[in-house]
Amino acid sequence: MKLTLKSSPHHHNRRDTGQVMRLVIYACIPGIIAQTWYFGFGTLIQVFLAIVTAVVTETIILELRKKNTERVIKDYSAVLAALLLAISIPSFAPWWVIVIGTFFSIAIVKQLYGGLGYNMFNPAMGGYVMLLISFPMQMTSWLPPLSLAEQTHGFIDAVYMVFTGYTSTGFNIEQLRIGVDGVTMATPLDSVKTDLSQGFTLTEAYTNSIFSGIYGQGWAVVSLAYLLGGLMLIKTKVISWHIPGSMILAAVLFSGLFYLVQPDIYASPLFHLMNGSLIIGAFFIATDPVSGATTVKGRVIFGAAIGLWIIIIRVWGGYPDAVAFAVLIMNMAVPLIDYYTQPRTYGHKSS
């Protein structure tokens, strides 16, 4: 009788890479629902376009690289990267924006570096930054929440908008961005940044109709929906608390410090948390294992540094939000962080 020979361990817990990626995708669902609810069906169309582009791009490149395409596609990493990029861009951005961005994410940022596991930078954020720099107009044309918009738009409008630049009834993006008060609406972060630069105080900035209190309407709910998904990921041990925890804590502490000194000019920590993509960045973007730090101590440092960079760029930088920049900056520091944060091995005096 010929016996099978295998190396130990013979036991394996049944959570493979595909499952891990799928769990992250599922955790995005509450946030996507909230985003669709507030900003229209454009988000779903972006997600759809991104996933198709990612799978096609990945397949072609894997074929060129003569890899086991089916097996690699099934790890869902390309789908996840596409999804994260799609939910980061304005919902009614033209179709070619997301297609170019996704192609760049998968082909350049991921596959050119050797594919899953070898990419130094977060693919979604690499694509996002490329788009933001190349197409600043399209990438900053966020719509107001539907409840505040002058024009309503449905699924068909979203499809038309993304593919033609006009809704079925002939409105263009600028018209859609006009709020009920007849003024083009910006994102909460954008609005505050502009107002502050024009010499207004924060209290005055919060009077903008996008705010209710200090929370941007719609935006705060979207953030909370992603927080829910993120907590689910921690609960199911897909991600550890170290990166999101230290990232949020660092952002809160750092912004809190300025807020305590000059609450008129510097926004409160809660404002920073609830607006923009800090939450989604903390739980879904910075936790990308491939481009993040791997040691426990390293993850704390990695997360904290991202939090710090976000506040620095938001407060002093030229862009209203900064998650993508902060993540990419820290991606570069990962090898260094990992090297200097090795844990002490059993039976050794110090690391």
């Binding site: 009788m1 010929k2 016996l3 099978t4 020979l5 295998k6 190396s7 130990s8 361990p9 013979h10 036991h11 394996h12 817990n13 959570r15 493979d16 890479t17 499952q19 891990v20 086991n68 097996r71 690699v72 790890d75 990493s77 594919g115 899953l116 596991g117 070898y118 550890s240 294992p289 491939v290 993040g292 791997t294 040691t295 426990v296 990992d338 090795q342 844990p343 002490r344 091995t345 059993y346 039976g347 050794h348």
Partner: protein, 669 residues
């Protein structure tokens, strides 16, 4: 840094143990096999007893093919430092001693003694040491060694070496943790033989004299905890500790950490942190060896997995081929696409390559899983650096870094990441979402590094040898040159001085020595003549010959006689030559029998040549008239004779020159 004795005792008494980092919780699956009593198996048709079943070296084999052996009879010796003997598992005949598939992942052939049982199962004489407290420690340690006991927990380290240590031990830890899923052999042993385990512990306590004994059992074995607690209740020093179930809590390093918070130094031993650990099975074997005198010839093996229709625990004699055990557990291959049998547990066990693989001292389990139960892993995917492995690692290593560097064969860096602190528990590979066989990579890296080191050492040795040789040759050359230089100088000096006092003295001394020697030679020559005439009595007459022919054999006598004859001949010859020479020299100078001993050989040659020359001249002169047809031959012979004569003449001239010089030197004195 670490907790002290009192703190540890305090915390154990309130069940506030420490923890080790990482670890995993695979499904236990113990209930498959731990519910029924241990069964005894019928004898197999053939036993295959490998002589090395432990860490160390195999002992020298004490039996030959065809020998009849009794059950418990030692088959190999404990002659070397790290060797423990193996014993016949039953009475029978040794049919073969040779290579047999080994209980090792490679299945590579190993020196094995095959025994055909005679069915009588007759014990050899057993020597128990029931009153062991009255025996010296050395005797007990020796008895444990002679019983062939090595750690039954898995590593197989010779027990007598640990038990014979002279170190201060605070905690004697008895390991009944059995953290690997599926295995229940220690569980059943503790449930059914707690008393013998306790006896074994008593013996170890007598030998090691620890301050405290901790019997550690995972909390998934409440029955075992209960029975051992009862067995140990009279001993205040013994404490049964229930520890949380987490793999690999039963690893030596991890268990020490859980119980004492102490860490065994990376290049140290448990004794360095005041601990010593024995498996419960080892305690049982020690009890058997001391109280009954029985050597280690059987152990409990768990037969488990869904491919066994009747999973259970059995007493299996060492050397039983696993095919015998598989049939005992009603193994069927229907639930396996291709047959797969694992020796050991699902985390650290290895797949056996042959059904003839024997049960050895460390075989605690045979696991035959259904394909659904433990699917064979798919091909590995790319590492996504998720660090699940690092979170699972009980040694706080960075498995993925080790994996990168092992795979890339950057072994130096892998070692910087403490590759050799990996205990190969498999927790990392268990959790890896990309199903990378991490441990396999580490094993390969470790093996490669060991090979590299061995090669390096070999090369280093060769280099040292080569350099030493070069040095020696150079030294010799220099010495030779120095000698030549000195000799040349001496010659020059003597030529310049034309004879010095020192040289004269030497010459005089040489002359005296020569004279003495000749006298001796003459005397011996006389003796030899006697032996020559009476070879049978050579033993009595010749001193030297007597020594040589002390042996009674006829042949030797003859040889001695021949030697004696030869010696006699030689002596006679040399005497004759020296006589000749004497006369020669006398002709030149009255006192010139001064010939250096070095020249003696030359002299005898000269003598021989002289004789030959005389012979040949005689032959030529007498034969030439008769055989004119052989003119050519005669001419050649004549030429040779002439040449010889010339040579002889020349030699003689030299000789004379020398002697003349010598005599001149003497006269100058």
């Amino acid at each position: 840094m670490y907790a002290d004795y009192d703190e540890i005792i305090e915390r154990i008494s309130v069940q506030a143990l420490w923890d080790f980092p990482g670890g995993v919780h695979p499904p236990q699956q113990k209930e498959l096999s731990n519910t029924t009593p241990i069964e005894t198996l019928p004898l197999p048709d053939m036993f295959y007893v490998p002589i090395k079943q432990h860490i160390g070296t195999g002992g020298q084999i004490l039996v030959n093919e065809g020998d009849y052996v009794l059950k418990g009879q030692a088959l190999s010796a404990n002659d070397l430092a790290l060797s423990v003997p193996v014993h016949a598992p039953t009475s029978g005949t040794v049919t073969n001693i040779g290579e047999h598939v080994s209980a090792h992942p490679s299945g590579i052939g190993e020196l094995t003694i095959c025994i055909k049982p005679d069915g009588l199962d007759k014990w050899t004489d057993l020597v128990p040491l029931k009153d062991y407290v009255n025996h010296p420690k050395h005797d007990l340690v020796n008895a444990i060694c002679k019983a062939g006991i090595s750690g039954l927990g898995g590593a197989g380290f010779p027990t007598h070496i640990k038990a014979g240590e002279h170190k201060d031990i605070e905690f004697l830890i008895i390991n009944g943790v059995e953290c690997e899923p599926y295995i229940s052999s220690d569980d059943r042993l503790m449930r059914e033989h707690a008393w013998q385990i306790r006896q074994g512990i008593d013996i170890l306590v007598h030998l090691i004299k620890p301050k405290q004994v901790l019997v550690a059992i995972e909390d998934n074995k409440p029955e075992a905890i209960e029975t051992l607690s009862v067995a140990c209740q009279q001993q205040t020093k013994y404490q049964v500790v229930s520890i949380p179930t987490k793999y690999p809590a039963g690893g030596e390093k991890q268990l020490v950490q859980v119980l004492t918070s102490r860490e065994i130094p990376t290049d140290g031993l448990p004794a360095d942190v005041g601990c010593m650990m024995f498996n419960v099975g080892t305690c049982f074997a020690i009890s058997d060896a001391i109280m009954e005198g029985k050597p280690l010839i059987e152990r409990i093996v768990t037969l488990t997995g869904d491919a066994f229709d009747a999973p259970k625990n059995v007493w299996a004699r060492l050397g039983t081929p696993i095919s015998h055990l598989l049939s005992a557990g009603s193994y069927s291959t229907s639930k396996q696409e291709s047959p797969r049998v694992i020796m050991g547990g699902p985390m650290m066990g290895f797949t056996v390559s042959s059904l003839q693989t024997p049960v050895v001292k460390i075989t605690n389990c045979l696991l035959a899983p259904a394909d659904k139960e433990l699917p064979t892993p798919e091909d590995e995917r790319a590492c996504i650096r998720c660090s699940a492995c690092a979170e699972a690692c009980p040694a706080s290593l960075l498995p993925q870094q080790l994996f990168w560097y092992s795979k890339a064969k950057e072994y130096d860096i892998a070692q910087e990441y403490n590759l050799f602190d990996c205990i190969e528990c498999g927790a990392c590979a268990y959790v890896c979402p990309s199903e990378i066989p991490l441990v396999h990579y580490y094993r390969k890296a470790k093996a490669d590094i060991r090979i590299q080191q061995e090669e390096k050492e070999k090369a280093e040795k060769a280099r040292i040898r080569f350099e030493a040789r070069q040095e020696r040759l150079l030294k010799e050359k220099l010495e030779r040159e120095e000698k030549h230089r000195k000799a040349a100088e001496a010659r020059k000096q003597s030529m310049n001085k034309d004879g010095g006092a020192a040289k004269d003295k030497i010459a005089a001394a040489l002359a005296r020595a020569k004279a003495k020697k000749e006298a001796l030679a003459q005397q011996q020559g006389d003796n030899a003549t006697v032996t020559n005439t009476e070879p049978q009595e050579s033993t009595q007459t010749s001193g030297r010959a007597r020594v040589e022919s002390k042996a009674p054999s006829d042949k030797k006598d003859k040889v001695a006689a021949a030697i004696a004859r030869a010696k006699a001949k030689k002596l006679a010859k040399s005497e004759a030559v020296s006589e000749d020479k004497k006369s020669d020299n006398e002709a030149v100078s009255q006192e010139s029998n001064i010939v250096s001993s070095d020249r003696k050989k030359e002299d005898s040659a000269q003598g021989a040549a002289e004789n030959a020359a005389v012979d040949s001249t005689v032959t030529t002169s007498s034969d030439s008239p008769e055989k004119k047809a052989n003119d050519k031959k005669a001419k050649v012979a004549a030429a040779i004779a002439k040449a010889k004569a010339k040579k002889l003449e020349k030699a003689k001239m030299n000789e004379q020159d020398n002697t003349q010089a010598n005599t001149q030197n003497e006269s100058n004195d």
